[in-house]
Symmetry: D2
Subunit: 326 residues, 4 copies
């Protein structure tokens, strides 16, 4: 089906993706991985929970690590423009017949908890505690020098419908992969903040979180991380990359923690603020879509993901498959 036009007057104003909670089975291991190896900064730490931010962020956290018996993913957090937008969001989700509740979250003002039609837990807020800038405290930079959370990527059993639903909220399509045979959308990249995406959907059993991405200064920081991971005990956590995506044009690396939560390290996509930006269409059969330089992704990259707490997954009925590494 054709991709829908952007909704330039959405029911509420989403500023950007904001944060996510990863439930992990060995918090000490995860602290070493996200803090010492990748370089995220601890902003609060208490029994069983660690709050982290990236170097140029002033909101209190972009990642919450929580000790749990089983690995899973909590709500995907989005920042709204104002408290009024938060009320409008609550009304809109209720009007869709979706669950709406107000929840208490440390370091934040009012938080609206809801789910999308596939059960993905979403949280919206307008105010989070603000912290002093640290982007010029260069002695704190470590690891891959993560600057900010960039996007979420989800496996979806129905990408076409996800594009319609998130599009209604005001997410605007920047690039997408079409299955030419069925006319269906195989994957889609949608943004609010002016980059290629705040959220993306990839065809597959879902809903599951494919990855959360962090933006870094240059490709050399990614090369530094590869050197560090491969010589300090994290070789098996490297999954794919480095490379340049055809889609988004970004330089990337994919890594997976011991619980299977995947992180993309990412830089150099492009500005998408224009409301009349034309989405770029890619053919599912084009291997440069995945990697501009031609190398296909490994099978794990297409198959493995993290489950959201409290969701039931289902298979996609879109059976077309991308080229995978043999």
């Amino acid at each position: 089906m054709p991709v829908p036009p952007p909704n330039l007057n959405p029911p509420f104003n989403i500023v950007r993706l904001s944060h996510v909670e990863l439930r992990v089975t060995d918090l000490a291991w995860s602290r070493a991985y996200y803090v010492d190896l990748l370089g995220l900064q601890v902003t609060h730490e208490e029994a069983g929970t660690i709050y982290l931010r990236a170097m140029e962020e002033r909101g209190h956290h972009c990642l919450i690590l929580r000790q749990a018996a089983e690995a899973s993913v909590g709500g995907l957090g989005f920042k709204l423009w104002s408290e009024d937008d938060l009320d409008r969001a609550a009304a809109w989700f209720a009007g869709q017949g979706l669950p709406v509740s107000w929840v208490d979250r440390p370091f934040m003002g009012r938080v609206l908890a809801t789910r999308d039609p596939w059960g993905v837990p979403l949280e919206f807020y307008a105010r989070m505690d603000r912290l002093p800038p640290i982007h010029q405290k260069y002695a704190l930079y470590r690891g891959v020098k993560p600057l900010r959370i960039d996007h979420f990527n989800l496996f979806s059993p129905d990408v076409d419908k996800a594009v319609v639903f998130y599009g209604a909220m005001g997410f605007r399509l920047t690039e997408y992969t079409a299955d030419e045979e069925t006319g269906r959308t195989w994957a889609a990249w949608m943004h609010r903040k002016g980059g290629v995406h705040d959220i993306a959907f990839t065809n597959g059993t879902g809903p599951r979180l494919h990855h959360v991405a962090f933006w870094v200064p240059t490709p050399l920081n990614i090369i530094d991380l590869l050197d560090l991971m491969s010589t300090s005990g994290y070789l098996s956590n490297i999954e794919r990359g480095p490379g340049r995506h055809g889609i988004s044009n970004a330089f990337f690396l994919y890594i997976r923690d011991r619980d299977g939560h995947r992180t993309e390290i990412y830089c150099s996509d492009y500005q998408t603020t224009d409301p009349d930006l034309e989405p770029i269409k890619w053919d599912l059969k084009d291997p440069q879509r995945q990697t501009l330089w031609g190398a296909p992704a490994p099978r794990t990259w297409f198959e493995l993901g993290s489950t959201f707490e409290g969701t039931t997954q289902r298979e996609s009925d879109l059976k077309a498959q991308p080229i995978v590494a043999p």
Copy 2:
């Protein structure tokens, strides 16, 4: 005076800065400089006029070079969200007692021409011709690999009032320099598109254009440009840099063309989309404000600028001066 709070409900929606016209006295020289040396792409060329875009832009042009008897600067162009915003902008400027007219501009829809209270020519539009993407046509990249126009910087004889006026239009302050003795604002950086600025104001005789900036991929592209300029006849066009600004945290280089039009080559500032982003205040006496690494800027950088066509300049009454290189 204290900096005003952001206007989060502006009278019309400015998406971003868009383009500028530079009047030049030797178009062939300027073509070599902006096209062959810097790497901007020609999108249209006719007698006396050249239209250029940067590598990731899909709008028809970000820079117009026009042959003229004397060097000057035409209107500063801004893209609005919709045609309705354009009408609202016309009404707002008219309501301020400022001149409003609709002008014909090639490759564009309706264009509103007006001036700010100091006479700076401004042009607003919602639709410009769109061109196919070239950001992945890597064989076209040259020079410093300019990706997009990033911001305008203006000399202003009254920065405090400029902040109020542009703030009323919805530009949000990200950083500013205060003169501690008088309590006045010495310089201010304001944005719409989610970076540190779309427009900035620096104390000085004005209005004049201090510079127009282009965003490039990494600091190494700036080093490449320095190597190229210094060994191919453009040594005397290098004015300041490379360095890192304290303000904006950007890695920078300033160069001036033969007509004195200054360009900043710029990368690695930070994301500013949050409406509650707290402006960062700098002291005029702090040399790291200018250059994080401590080196003061040369006197020319504080004194020379380009005049706007049809304006009268006046001196600032704020006499405090920054540290300059001896």
Copy 3:
């Protein structure tokens, strides 16, 4: 067998590898590839032959492209310290029962042509025409910005014996791969000029040229080349990389021209001038030997190579095989 100690008093003084002739079946195509795409500089061009140098070289050429009916490789060129060394080299090769002749080569002084015991054509000289420096003519830099020829890599059916033979000439071992089961050397890196290698030997049917390598400034130049090749018609010429070798620690990319001649683009190995430098031993079973980051090389990389004119190849009897990409 154990690796032999370095010969610190060799029979003649080899300064460095110098140049190679590639016979190609479509000279116009090869010119576009080596000159326009990779960025080597033409120093002489005549019917059927092109001479090239890299950006910091002052010798007349490091690569000769010669039109031929079939693709093959001519002699591997090495620069000697003095004319006396050239005479000593002639005597030494004659003493080994190897063919010795003096040949005329344009742009060069006396040239000694000989072969190693496996038939590899070798050429030695002390004087080649010298050209003015161009390393600061930055307007000439193109493509991957090749700075200098770095090394030759050969398939050898008997690496242990090659190490002894080239070691006797004064090549010093820096790193090697051992097959732990047989105690045999599977691959070896040997140098004269103070980097990890001027010449390397890899187990396989041979003698064949595996690749010739060029040194570039930084990993970002290699990323630039990948972007350029993949979007300007050279996607299928990318074979392996980018990555970091465990052996040599270099950042690499392997590409193959239409005749199958393989080029390595290479940077950031280390200095090896000390005569007591201890060779680093790697296990054939260690995948980080090939790629520090863990990804195995494709099968083509282990199997395909260029033949030398006038040689007969034979299989290696060392059947141990490295891990290849599935």
Copy 4:
């Protein structure tokens, strides 16, 4: 006077510069500066003395920090090819009427201590303790990621004679600055190991050490160091740079410790192994000689240096002066 031809058959074989001892007045401060800030690795530490090596070095040390009442510089260390070369060196210096003694140095074999005709303390050796490689232990990399000691630079009151004396030892000239009016050599760069220099001489009151240099991977590491120094209490230790030298083509930064010992952080010079490499001549009046991009060096850079223990300095009679920053 014309520069002398290289001595291609020197009396003894110097492999490379090796190490230097800096006497410092606050060892704890210097440890923080050279180890924590710059990233050199401690290989031995005892009361009053710290031994350091850079990341790709396997010799025990390249820098010795020694607590002293007054700042000064101990001997400049050079590695010879063999023990026989050490004896030949002793004979040669004795034959020049210069002091020769054998001294005990920890972690080293026989060490010959002598002085050049201007009193500069020199130490030669063939064997130093060897340590395991750490260049692939990426978790150890810190600060500017120093890879190896690169060169010494000395103020000399008679550069012409220094070129003759060091040339007799086999140092080969790569670049030099001529004072066109007097025909005298104002500065000279000389090498043994195949880069632009192991040692350089600059006209001025001497002998004094102008700086010791360390080689780093890329210009971005130098930018990282500037960011770190300027935001962690070392702003005033930044003296000059970043920039590219005309001479040597290297990307540079100069910093000075609290005792005034100057360090150059340096990368991307070129290979000089050819015995027939033609020295490049620069005019003292050419500002691109110092900085390719045109900016002159500050006066301190031309005037301040470190004294060698036990030497008497004298002024140069060559009064020509380079352009300095105003």
